[in-house]
Symmetry: C2
Subunit: 194 residues, 2 copies
DNA sequence: GCTAAATGTTAATCTAGTTTAATATCTTTT
DNA sequence: AAAAGATATTAAACTAGATTAACATTTAGC
């Protein structure tokens, strides 16, 4: 069940007592979305920090030309939120939309500091996953600078084989920062090399 | 003096008591580096999380072709560390080198968890700056996808006018993910537009 | 099972940014 | 103040990836 997978995830980083788990339960809410629904829309204020327990989402911006650019693809065990919007309670730059029917467990902005006070281990937990997130984000910037589109695609496939199967190619292309046509070309190149 | 600027910075995010400040002091060390010296070298394990109190540094990788790619330029009031190396105590992918004579105040990996325990506000502090760091890193990925090199340069100049003045153009180019020749072209284009 | 919509492919043309190489300028050392 | 090293500019040739457009295939709704 949804809450348990969140607890199991948190317990990989810190060890919550039974009591702390009970307390935490009272501060999170479960929500479900259908494929296509938005967890967050550009311009709205991001009120929640959401943990995906089932399904798949994309976080993206729409640029001046109406083109979609995906910064993040998330499946079970990933976090979803426009952090800048969440921490400043300012309108979001990013959209978060479900690619499959999706179930999330969420913390609300208004109570999250209370949760940190009641269960300081959760502040440690978020500190740790933010460290990992920032390290990963920096490495992604470097990959985008140093690797060709083809190598980035191969890296993506190897790193996230599960995500690669579940979402359409044109979203993978957007995540990689290239056009769907060019990804198609890359794929046929790779196929010929065999 | 160095320590005071760190304390002032931390107090922007959390409010330390006199006693907490005293305690913190016993866990940080000051170091100075000359221009050109390395705070961290690729392959070494990152043992410290460093706050710059004076000077300027670059964080970069050297790719297979021997080319340098800068992920981060840091001046007074910025943090420096290869986070992945620091949290996992594994060899660093990144180098951190001083561009000017530089003074830092640093936390050591071996005692930082102790500091968090003694002064939980510091865990909150790091959680907050990591949130900001991750938000900024994600926005940079999007800028790299959506903006032309010229617009990224103008954005950089506007956002970090102080850094722009202090470091050579070829490092700005590397930070922007373009060649120094192309940045030179962009600059002459901009000059002609006036 | 049919139709429409969504997704994917191919190929020609185009362009932002790279590469190479030569020259210029600025900074530091002696 | 000369020489050497570091930094910056310019321009020609080149390439990774974008754009456009036509067509193919797969998926979902009825």
């Amino acid at each position: 069940m949804a809450l348990n997978s969140l607890l199991a995830y948190i317990n990989n980083y810190v060890s919550l007592t039974e009591e702390e788990e009970r307390l935490l339960e009272t501060y999170v809410t479960k929500r479900t979305y259908l494929k296509g629904q938005y967890i967050l829309q550009q311009g709205d204020i991001c009120r929640h920090s959401s943990f995906i327990t089932k399904g798949c989402s994309k976080m993206f911006v729409v640029d001046a030309d109406g083109q979609e650019h995906i910064i993040m693809l998330a499946v079970e065990g990933w976090w979803n939120s426009d952090i800048a919007s969440f921490i400043n309670q300012k309108p979001a730059d990013f959209n978060i939309q479900c690619i499959e029917d999706t179930e999330i467990v969420q913390f609300h902005y208004d109570t999250i500091e209370t949760v940190y006070t009641l269960v300081p281990k959760l502040e440690k937990f978020f500190r740790k996953i933010l460290e990992r997130g920032l390290a990963a984000s920096q490495k992604r910037i470097i990959r985008n600078f140093t690797m060709t589109a083809k190598d980035r695609y191969l890296y993506f496939k190897a790193s996230y084989p599960d995500i690669d199967q579940r979402i359409p190619q044109y979203m993978v292309a957007s995540y990689l920062g290239i056009t769907k046509e060019f990804l198609s070309k890359i794929k046929s190149q790779i196929a010929q090399e065999r």
